[in-house]
Symmetry: C2
Subunit: 163 residues, 2 copies
DNA sequence: CATGAAATGCGTCGCCA
DNA sequence: TGGCGACGCATTTCATG
C-alpha cells in the first residue's frame, strides 16, 4: 500500500475540488471548510502549482456571448507518410482550434473547432484540408449540449496516484 | 440598429480575456492595464456574471495527477424511437462523462469520457451500452494531446454579438 | 448611467515559533 | 503546521460629469 502519501492527500484533493468549483475562493474560506489555516492552504496550492497538479486558473464564458456560435469536431486523416504528431505545429496557427489530439480508430487526429458561424467554419475547414499532409476530414457539427457545466475531474476517482 | 452597444464593448472583452488567462487576477491590476478603476472593473464583471457572459471561475488541473489517465470520445447511436435529447438525463448519472452533445453525422450524440484506466473505461462503456435506447457505440481513445493549453474563446472573433 | 475616489473589512504573503 | 503582522485587494458608499 502507499503510505500517508506526502505527495497528494485528501486535503489536497478537497482544495483542488474547491478551486475547480470556484477559482476565486479565498484560502481562508477553503481552510475553514477543511480545517486548515489560510497559510497552510496557500502553501499546498503553491506546491501544486509547482508540481503542475494545478495548471492554471481560468474563467468559463458562454462562447455565444463572445461571438462563437458554431462548434464542431473534425476527424483528420493524414497521409500515411507523415506522422500525425506533426499536426501539432500546424494546429497552433489556428485560433479556431481549441483542442487537438491523436486518437485510435480510423482517423489520425480529432480537432475541436470553434467558429463564429457556418460560413466561418467552412472557411476554416478549407484551410485545414489545404494543409500538406491532410488527406481527408470528417466533420461533426455540435447541435446542442446535453451537459452544461462540467463536474469534471474535480471529484476523486476510485483510486489515485501521481505523475 | 444597436448603438455603440452599452451591452458588451472592447473594455469588457479585455476584462474577459484577462480573466480567462488568469481567473485570480486582481480587479486593480486589470483596471490598471485597461485604464479603469478597480470598482469599475468589478461592476462590469458583476454585470457579465449576471448576464451569463461569464459563467464561472474554475481551476485547470492535469487530470493524470488526479488519477484520470484514460480519455475517450464515444459516438452514441440511439434507437430511432427515442430522441437523443433524452440522453441528457442518463448522462447526468455518469461522473466519468464530462461533456455530452448531440451532433450531425451518423451518430446521434458524442460523449467525452474520462476514466482512471482502460479497465475502468471498459466498465463505463458497458454501462452506457446497457442503457435502454442506446443501440451502438463507437469509441475513440485519446492517445496524446497536440494542444496543451486552450487559448480558447478568450480572444475576440472577427465579429461580435450578444445573446 | 457609468465612473473615480475614499473608507472599511478581509485576504494575501512573508516571517518566526 | 499555526499564528502574527504589514501590505494589498475587494467591496461598498458617495459624489461627479
Amino acid at each position: 500500500m502507499t503510505h500517508p502519501s506526502p505527495l497528494f492527500d485528501d486535503l489536497d484533493r478537497k482544495i483542488v475540488a474547491a478551486l475547480v468549483e470556484n477559482a476565486r475562493t479565498s484560502f481562508t474560506e477553503i481552510g475553514a471548510a477543511i480545517g486548515l489555516s489560510a497559510s497552510a492552504v496557500k502553501r499546498r496550492v503553491d506546491r501544486m502549482r509547482e508540481t503542475d497538479v494545478i495548471t492554471g486558473f481560468t474563467t468559463t464564458v458562454r462562447p455565444a456571448a463572445l461571438g462563437w456560435r458554431t462548434e464542431a469536431y473534425v476527424e483528420v486523416y493524414c497521409d500515411s507518410a507523415a506522422p500525425p504528431r506533426r499536426l501539432a505545429e500546424v494546429v497552433r496557427n489556428y485560433p479556431e482550434i481549441i483542442a487537438a489530439m491523436t486518437v485510435t480508430g480510423g482517423a489520425d487526429a480529432l480537432l475541436h473547432v470553434m467558429a463564429t458561424d457556418v460560413e466561418h467554419f467552412e472557411e476554416v475547414l478549407e484551410r485545414i484540408r489545404a494543409e500538406p499532409f491532410v488527406r481527408q476530414t470528417i466533420s461533426y457539427m455540435v447541435l446542442s449540449h446535453l451537459l452544461t457545466g462540467s463536474p469534471e475531474a474535480g471529484s476523486a476517482p476510485p483510486a489515485t496516484a501521481t505523475q
